[in-house]
């Protein structure tokens, strides 16, 4: 049945069924667990807890330009305007009920993994206080350069995953099934390989996908990993993109693809399609970012599931040192033959953005390619200066043209 659906249809079907399951979780004796997009959700899936990601819901509202309306409400409650727009818009949704979707079900518990950011932990704590609900903080110390320390960090994380399992057993009054976890891990590992394959198709010239396709395509990896349907979705997606490659179809026609660009940070959600069109008009295609690669895990099924989970969640780009982030970005530069970079200083996301100035210095030095840096916010339109961004983009492409960088590959 599924193989007759396109990836878009399949994505919709999976999402609809998932949300239906979430809204009826209690009818089916399941609990709803709010969790961070980067968190060992495989444990939730294996224990039949429905994972809900308030970030995803926030993205839907922010993309639909609801940011100002929702954030303003929260600022009236005493929260400052420089907190994460995901958090502010979510708290605004709680207060007003305003949403462009059907909303999300209320939580029974929280799992906050700080490999992604510290903000989510604090945001979840605010939500938990409203319902006097339990929060489990999965603390992932920075994946520092010291190799011995890394081994110890993994041990600490494994200990915490065991504590997480005990916590869930206590809340649900059900025994955790380790065999079920192994099965879930197989799906997660398989879908991760396919997801990475999908992202890496941006290597082709012309690239059949842009980062905007990747941002849409990553959704299922975020909220349905650990399931067979997630594997099926990425197989379908890869097949479709491969067909484009076989026909030489690119985001831009081959003769118009001048600049293959790297993007640092999350997107400006409410300018999503505008940016794609604007860059396209200059022959630019943003191919990738470390952000979209955050869900391409490398699970080792020969290891203890808790160990491979700990290893993978602790080494995400957002929990890595700036030096490691630079190496990860350089790998992408080489692999995707990129010849430009846009470094977005996102006021909402301190976890990613505070590394950007240093990262920019390292990457421009190592690639010899200039960077476009601009400051704005991923969801709050009040921090977006339209004419300024357009002018900077225009000036950046003029600089790249002047330097004769078009269609040159990045040098390491």
């Amino acid at each position: 049945m599924n193989d007759k659906l396109t990836s878009k249809q399949l994505s919709k079907k999976i999402t609809d069924e998932y949300m239906e399951d979430a809204f009826h979780a209690h009818d089916n004796n399941k609990l709803v667990g709010y969790t961070t997009a980067i968190s060992p959700v495989e444990i939730f899936v294996a224990h039949d807890i429905v994972p809900i990601y308030p970030e995803n819901h926030a993205v839907a509202n922010l993309t639909a330009k609801k940011g100002v309306e929702l954030c303003s409400v929260v600022e009236g409650m005493g929260y400052t305007s420089h907190l994460c727009a995901y958090a502010r818009s979510d708290l605004g949704y709680r207060k007003t009920g305003v949403t462009v979707t059907r909303g999300i079900p209320d939580p029974d518990l929280f799992l906050a993994c700080n490999a992604q950011c510290f903000t989510l932990t604090k945001w979840f704590q605010v939500l938990a206080r409203r319902g006097d609900l339990p929060v489990f903080v999965f603390d992932t110390p920075e994946h520092i350069l010291d190799k011995n320390a890394r081994k110890e960090i993994v041990k600490y994380c494994v200990l915490q995953l065991k504590e997480l399992i005990s916590f869930l057993e206590k809340v649900t009054k059900r025994k955790f099934d380790y065999d079920r976890l192994k099965e879930v891990m197989k799906y997660s590992a398989a879908s991760s390989i396919l997801y990475k394959k999908f992202l890496d198709m941006a290597q082709y010239k012309p690239s059949p996908i842009s980062i905007f396709d990747a941002l849409i395509g990553m959704a299922i990896a975020v909220y349905r990993r650990g399931t067979q349907e997630c594997v099926d979705y990425y197989q379908t997606l890869c097949d479709e993109i491969q067909a484009k490659v076989d026909q030489g179809i690119g985001v831009l026609p081959k003769d118009q693809e001048k600049y293959r660009l790297y993007w640092e940070n999350l997107p400006v959600w409410f300018k999503f399609s505008d940016h794609a069109k604007l860059l396209g008009s200059y022959g630019g295609v943003i191919l990738t970012s470390l952000y979209v690669h955050a869900w391409s895990f490398d699970f080792d099924l020969n290891k203890d599931p808790l160990e491979t989970l700990a290893e993978n969640y602790v080494n995400r780009f957002s929990n890595s040192t700036i030096e490691d982030r630079a190496d990860m970005a350089m790998d992408l530069f080489k692999k995707y033959s990129m010849n430009g970079m846009i470094m977005f200083m996102n006021r909402s996301c301190k976890a990613v953005s505070f590394a950007v100035p240093t990262l920019k210095d390292i990457l421009t030095k190592r690639t010899g390619i200039p960077a476009l840096v601009f400051e704005s916010d991923m969801g709050d339109q009040r921090f977006y200066a339209e004419s300024q961004v357009r002018t900077r983009i225009e000036a950046y492409f003029e600089t790249l043209d002047r330097l004769g960088l078009a269609q040159k590959t990045a040098a390491a």
Binding site: L83, K122, Q125, F354, T358
Partner: protein, 377 residues
Amino acid sequence: MWESLNLKDVVALARDPYPSIRQWARDTGKKVVGSTIADVPEEVIYAFDLLPVTILGTHKPLKKAPSHLPDNACSLARSNLELALSYEGDLFSGFVLPQVCDTTQHLSDIWRINFPDKFVTSYLAPRQADRPSARYWVKEEIERLIDSLSGWLGKKLDNGALMSSIALHNENKAILKELYEIKRNFPGTITNKQFFAMMKVSQQVDKAEFNKSLKAIKDGLKMKKSKNYTDVIMVGITCDPPEIFDIFDDLRVNIVGDTLVTGTRYLQGAPALNGDAIDALADRHFKRGFFSPIHDNVYKNFEEVRQLYKETKAKAVIYVHIEFCESQEYDLPDLKDMIKKEGIPIHVLDTEYQTTSLSHVLTRAQAFFESLKGGSL
């Protein structure tokens, strides 16, 4: 050098301790190791015959930090980075940098990249404190710190030196607690500015010397029974610039308790001297009060504040908010509501490192305390 200071000297030293620390380093030939807040076990650093200095910002202008950390980063983080990059970096042979939030995590990276020739290590304290793994991890991190320092200096840590260091630090804290008690019971005997200067300097100079000054100051105090003081408790992480304390002193406001990381939280949980030193240091971590980035429950903070308010019979709570401290900013609206619902008057002080003009703080504080005396808030 720091063994015969009077209160006036201490206040001046707190304002800018670095020329004095430089002189001390030259005189003794010892190395200076900087760290930022919070929870680095300074006893370990001291036991290696190093001087641990808690870096608490600079009042000099920002020049280099803004190109590394944008203007929506915590002002203390930017100020600390500026101090190291522009003003005092050469004084330090190394840094031990704790990570408790997104800002401090990046700060460590930026610091390490900018000081490639110095010893820079992270102290990865757990950001959860209620489960057994947290204790395991604190101990691991203390042991890793010891190994890192050993590797850098090429010498093993002597257990006797660690015990002596702990004893010295405990002594410092015991004296500070006595001084706090005097301040609490005899308002005006020690001003707010003087007391918090002693707290700050204790975190920045050699306690073997400074404890002598503190003892002499304590012994020389003439107790006053001043009247018309309004007792308050101060809640937050740090309080800067020190002129804020002048404002309180001028308004005859006496800080009788606090939850500051650079205040009472620094004094809490003296490690025991009759067992394993590392265990004792790990235990201390969990005896300290609420610190927003690592404790997940604002109710605990509220309970601490309420208890302290009752114990000290204070008249109000002063919450010190550091501009762009994300952790505080997520907690504050609910904490403020809880405190207000309890009927406790609360005043939020918005502070920013590098601030020079405090007229807005003075005006708001005056209005608050006037209304407090008038009984209507």
